[in-house]
Symmetry: C2
Subunit: 287 residues, 2 copies
């Protein structure tokens, strides 16, 4: 494990990003694009994935363990890349954590409000994310008159992870999930799970080309940048190839090899290694 030098500037510390598994890499990809000089420490909870079918209590416990691990890695800020963890655990973590925290829900909600013309917004996500009604709450804070329609799409994650990104089966399942949203005449759809942008084309075909698709990952990276700028936490350092300091570090709680294969299909960056760590040793109690 790398230990940070004490004399290192706070703004040069890495950004911590976590997810229930591999999906959060879509957020990492956006951070890499929008802030190429920032270092990133990523944690994917592959030993306990998925979060989307689990309770708030369990998701908060798991998230606290991960935040403790990331703080030990001396991160300057934490991005919760998982929609389910953002919906259920960000309020707790924000209140407890000594470094700034950002989730994907608020940025996604904001973009949807900016994009809608008829005020009818659809949200798709895991069962837990939809039940939480977090997107609805944030949207209504900005646009009280908005109509928000949630639709859980529990099969999408498995279909994406099995690689059926362009497949008649995924098309058929997408048509079923989108039917009620089409009936509601939504003009904007939030893809409220990090896996969904990977089947963006399928979702677009099913919901119709007139509907604006919102990818919270993109907007989260933008909001994270603003947050770091406001707090003078943007690094001024540049990084060069072959630098002795690893710019990106990836950790998982299980199956490092499989993570690496899937990761490379998402970020196309060449993840050199993912390291398995013992997440169970971190306390799940409030920080």
């Amino acid at each position: 494990m790398m230990t940070e030098s004490n004399k290192e500037n706070r703004e040069d510390l890495p950004i911590g990003v976590f997810d229930s598994g591999v999906g959060g890499l879509t957020v990492v990809k956006e951070i890499m694009n929008q802030m190429p000089n920032e270092r990133i420490v990523y944690f994917g909870d592959t030993a306990r994935v998925p979060y989307g079918s689990k309770s708030k209590d369990t998701i908060v416990r798991y998230s606290r363990q991960i935040v403790r691990f990331l703080l030990e890695q001396n991160v300057k800020a934490i991005a919760v890349a998982c929609n389910t963890a953002s919906a259920y655990a960000v309020p707790e973590i924000e209140a407890e954590c000594p470094v700034p925290v950002i989730g994907v829900i608020r940025p996604g909600a904001k973009t949807a409000v900016e994009g809608t013309k008829n005020g009818r917004i659809g949200v798709i996500g895991t069962r837990a994310t939809i039940s939480s009604e977090s997107y609805t709450d944030y949207i209504r804070q900005i646009m009280p008159e908005a109509k928000v329609y949630g639709q859980a799409c529990p099969l999408f994650v498995s279909l994406v992870e099995e690689g059926l990104w362009e497949d008649p089966v995924t098309d058929e399942i997408a048509r079923r999930y989108m039917a009620s949203l089409i009936d509601r005449k939504i003009d904007t759809l939030i893809m409220g799970c990090t896996h969904y942008p990977l089947i963006r084309k399928t979702i677009g075909r099913a919901v119709g080309s007139d509907v604006l698709l919102v990818n919270p990952a993109y907007e989260t990276a933008r909001e994270l940048r603003k947050m770091l700028e406001t707090r003078s936490l943007i690094t001024k350092r540049g990084y060069e190839l072959g630098s002795p300091v690893p710019q990106y570090r990836f950790y998982v709680s299980d199956m490092a090899g499989q993570f690496q294969r899937f990761a490379n299909s998402i970020i196309k960056y060449g993840i050199l290694a993912a390291e398995k760590i013992d997440i169970y040793k971190y306390s799940a109690e409030p920080l």
Copy 2:
């Protein structure tokens, strides 16, 4: 929590059964049918489900925690109802555990060998179960000349849990998974995941009516009975409706309500309540 009286006869203690989630209830159902006087304590690890995509190390850790919980419930024997946990953790647990342990793999392998005529046996299961080659190992111990062909069917669990038991999408996915097994001219197919018997008809249509389908849950209950008889551990007590001792107790690590709904669709018995317990407090170290 109920505590057992010390003067209670050993054979009247409950049987412990565990699974990664709800699927193991297919084994419970068989135990209820075949040994209606036996008490059962069931644990479903719904906070960490599924096991089928996780590593041996993680599955062994989780299984040890569960065994500790079941031993605290004073069980007389343990049935590992999950194929993945049976494949990866039964050898360790058998060696460490003070009460007899049975998994689903050995009974399933035995039935397949008894059923095959051409010695060509297919096995379907999670990625972890198929990678472990446990069914292959047990089959070859009894029938060294057998040809065993494994096929991971990772989408089946999600499709079953989403209720698509009779659905064109499940038919299409089943056809794809079965194609290579049909090419291999298998005459016997082990349904090596507790969820699969719930889509037995779909699997049967896809693989062809000439292929014998083996449900290890049935055979595991039969073997468990034999094991208990051999060790004089079969209860002689009868139970009556309204008995003060709860005959069946169900515990989960998360989402007790959802478990109950799905459970009732499997056992059709009326599970009165499932209780959530804190599985994290049990050590994952060797017993």
